[in-house]
């Protein structure tokens, strides 16, 4: 905490050198774009891994490129499962919506020149970047990447290479990477909360903040409370592995005909610690998408967000409940049925705030003069995916049903729709909506719409059949089930899903091309191309270094003044004084 920034943390001069301007920048906008680019890189890595998983599942005896002409071993498949999940959850879903868009737009939307702690902000990005590098390096150490999936359950994650090729050095790398990531996430969360509480412009009361600022705030609170717990759990796991302690490894454990020299620990303890973090993590991933959706639906329906106050309450309710439901990931861990029932009731009660949000999104669109632009399509897509994925959560939240559905493809279908793809659609929507502001160019609308429809139909084609497979009883995390009698008839469905995945992944290349093409050749964006009301649209595209060009904005209005009777235009900016 240097005294130089203590004097005036919100003011710093525009740097001129390359390194300070683009690499170790203190500017929240540059850092936001760095996070966004990191997530973009990570999402293509994670997607590439899933493509290999789909190839293996559809054609178990096939030979694929980059495997030296050999078939993919089941262990390699598990390594792909682990790294796909880890990279997607941490480096995409946690990174882009909050670190990327949040960093770029939170200060601007509340009328600040920067985040509360610019140096910490830079550090949190670079710490996250190092975590990503360490995670990728896990592929290249002896034994390769870990094979215990993103939840890294002990005892197999705690005993070293005897539990599988990637459980040696690869698992160490995984834990170290996640530990570093936790530090970055904590620094980021602290910064977001302090910025929201203390850096708002005059007139920008909490209840005048755009929905996006509210979600970034609530997400940061979740992160601040959750990542410390994961860090602590990671340290215990690393000690079990390297120092020989027995926090998680039970006594008398025999692996590969060898007695493991630990005693008395509990693998269930890890599950509690992990899911105490893991469930809020789900909301860390999805809440920013909810905020972007609320924002975009209002802008393109030309109506205020329906029930703003209820939306804020619902979001806080989801955040709070998110900390009380971790046990629903552990119904089959041998927990008492009474405990399970408490977790179940709390889990199902999340349906209330979720329904409020869904109802209000539809209420926002109801009777509006809807403009079906690309960002709007993705936002509507988000609502669709959130409903589809959320409904199956009601099944899984009941212990009696979960006992059967646990660890089947039903779960895979559920969480991919509701937290994976819905959150990704939030990012698509955010990218489409804010691209003109970030880069000063409009994205190509035709390419965007083609990408939307292929992706939207594609993800349903991929994940809907998985619900059916799960109900049939197909377990997840197996590289090949074609030899199992009752699952063999499902092989054609695997092939269908893999084709759908290939087409959907192909469409993402179009998205990438659209970004690059639009940056170079896209038509110039005006200051406010969407005719929106929040502060980021009151400044040039892209914004100047200090955001408001020396001016300090004053806010006079709420964030959603659309279609007000008696006004000349159908929108009124937040910083436009009352008549």
């Amino acid at each position: 905490m240097s005294h130089g920034t203590a004097a005036a943390p919100h003011v710093h001069q525009a740097p001129t050198g390359f390194w300070k301007k683009y690499i170790f920048s203190l500017d929240h906008k540059v850092i936001g774009i760095q996070y966004w680019l990191l997530a973009l890189t990570a999402v293509f890595v994670g997607m590439g891994l899933s493509l290999y998983m789909r190839l293996r599942l559809a054609w178990p005896s096939g030979e694929f490129p980059f495997f030296g002409g050999a078939q993919m071993t089941p262990e390699m498949y598990l390594a792909l499962v682990t790294m796909h999940g880890t990279i997607m959850v941490f480096f995409v879903l946690t990174t882009a919506p909050q670190g990327g868009f949040g960093n770029y737009f939170l200060p601007i939307q509340i009328g600040a020149a920067d985040m509360a702690f610019p140096v910490l902000n830079m550090l949190s990005f670079w710490v996250t970047f190092v975590a990503f590098v360490v995670m990728i390096l896990a592929f290249f150490v002896e034994g390769g990447a870990p094979i215990g999936s993103w939840v890294a359950y002990p005892p197999l994650s705690a005993v070293g290479a005897i539990a599988g090729p990637g459980q040696g050095m690869g698992m160490n790398m995984w834990i170290i990477s996640i530990g570093i990531f936790c530090l970055g996430a904590l620094l980021g969360a602290l910064n977001f909360i302090a910025t929201t509480l203390d850096m708002r412009a005059r007139g920008m009361s909490m209840m005048r903040m755009p929905m996006t600022c509210w979600v970034w705030f609530v997400t940061a609170v979740l992160g601040l409370l959750a990542f410390g717990v994961l860090l602590a759990a990671g340290i215990l796991l690393l000690l079990d592995r390297t120092a020989g302690t027995s926090f998680f490894v039970p006594g008398g454990l025999v692996i590969s005909e060898q007695l493991i020299d630990h005693k008395g620990g509990s693998p269930i303890l890890w599950q509690h610690l992990f899911w105490f973090f893991g469930h809020p993590e789900v909301y860390i991933a999805i809440l920013p998408g909810m905020g972007a959706t609320s924002q975009i639906l209002a802008v393109f329906s030309r109506k205020p967000v329906y029930g703003y106050r209820a939306m804020v309450m619902a979001m806080c309710g989801i955040g709070l409940l998110g900390f009380l439901v971790w046990g629903h990931h552990m119904f089959i861990s041998g927990m008492s049925p009474y405990t399970a029932m408490v977790f179940s009731v709390l889990t199902l009660s999340i349906g209330v705030p979720s329904a409020i949000k869904t109802f209000n999104w539809i209420g926002t669109m109801w009777g509006g003069q809807i403009r079906f632009t690309a960002p709007m399509l993705y936002a509507i897509g988000f609502v669709s995916l959130f409903i589809s994925g959320g409904l199956s959560g009601i099944f899984l939240g009941q212990p009696s049903l979960d006992l059967y559905l646990h660890d089947t493809y039903f779960v895979v279908g559920h969480f991919h729709l509701v937290m994976g793809v819905a959150a990704i659609f939030g990012m698509f929507a955010g990218t489409q909506y804010w691209f003109p502001k970030m880069f000063g160019k409009m994205m190509n609308e035709t390419m965007s719409k083609i990408h939307f429809w292929v992706t939207f139909l594609g993800v349903y084609a991929i994940f809907m059949p998985m619900h059916y497979m799960g109900i049939v009883g197909h377990p997840r995390r197996y590289a090949d089930t074609s030899g199992v009698d009752f699952l063999a008839p499902l092989q054609d469905m695997h092939v269908f899903i893999s084709y759908a995945a290939m087409i959907t992944i192909g469409a993402q290349l179009l998205f990438l091309f659209n970004i690059i093409w639009s940056m170079m050749k896209g038509p110039k964006a005006s200051d406010n191309p969407w005719e929106a009301t929040t502060l980021e649209w009151s400044i040039p595209s892209p914004p100047p270094f200090d955001n408001f060009g020396g001016r300090v904005p004053v806010v006079y209005r709420g964030p959603y003044e659309y279609s007000r009777p008696g006004e000349a235009k159908d929108f009124v900016m937040q910083d436009e004084p009352m008549k």
Binding site: M1, H3, P9, A116, L197, M199, A226, L231, V552, P577
Partner: protein, 200 residues
């Protein structure tokens, strides 16, 4: 706030952020950091309580007596740091520097004392992996020591500024947030002691 009030507020006092924002964000930031640190130790605590109730391998660790002396030293350092802060506010530079030096010495003394505790335990054959109770003892004391080391580094920086007589009122915020952190580490240590002492 009604719009007319906003207007009045806006045109009243120039167009910068209200004065004191910097001070406020540093205080907010410190409290948030303390919440995050609390969650970290709460996670260890829950693991401690659960693990102590599992199996039959838990052997209660008798706390080395030196810990009580260390506790007194740390409590004294909180007192001297508060005296530092009060002397700084009162403009008594020399008194401020004296109290500050005392705090640094006491803080370093606590860490050295903890090191001696670990040495004594090791000499008695009690290591990290000897028993889950000793695992948690080393884990909790080392985690606390690491956090305290951060506080000591901040105090070291403040001392250098103080000895050069550069610790003016502009540095007040730095001293304040460091003091908040230090007192919290003091409280955290009392908590850890009670946990290790009462939940054996």
């Amino acid at each position: 706030m009604p719009p007319s009030m906003v207007d009045e507020f806006a045109h009243g006092n120039g167009d910068r952020l209200p004065p004191g924002t910097a001070r406020r964000v540093y205080h907010t930031g410190m409290w948030l950091a303390l919440i995050a640190i609390s969650m970290f130790f709460i996670a260890f605590t829950s693991a401690y309580i659960v693990r102590s109730g599992l199996g039959d391998d838990w052997q209660a660790l008798s706390l080395p007596p030196l810990l009580w002396l260390n506790t007194l030293i740390l409590l004294a350092s909180s007192y001297t740091l508060d005296a530092t802060r009060r002397a700084l506010l009162g403009g008594q530079r020399e008194a401020c520097n004296r109290w500050l030096m005392a705090t640094v010495i006491l803080g370093a003394g606590f860490l050295f004392g903890q090191y001696r505790v670990w040495q004594d335990l090791a000499a008695a054959g009690i290591f990290l992996i000897t028993n889950p109770s000793s695992s948690f003892f080393y884990l909790l004391t080392a985690s606390h020591a690491l956090h305290l080391l951060g506080g000591l580094a901040a105090l070291g920086y403040i001392s250098i500024e103080a000895l050069r007589f550069r610790l003016g009122p502009a540095k007040r915020t730095l001293v304040e947030v460091t003091a908040i952190y230090w007192h919290f580490m003091d409280g955290l240590w009392i908590y850890i002691m009670l946990l290790l002492w009462l939940w054996r």
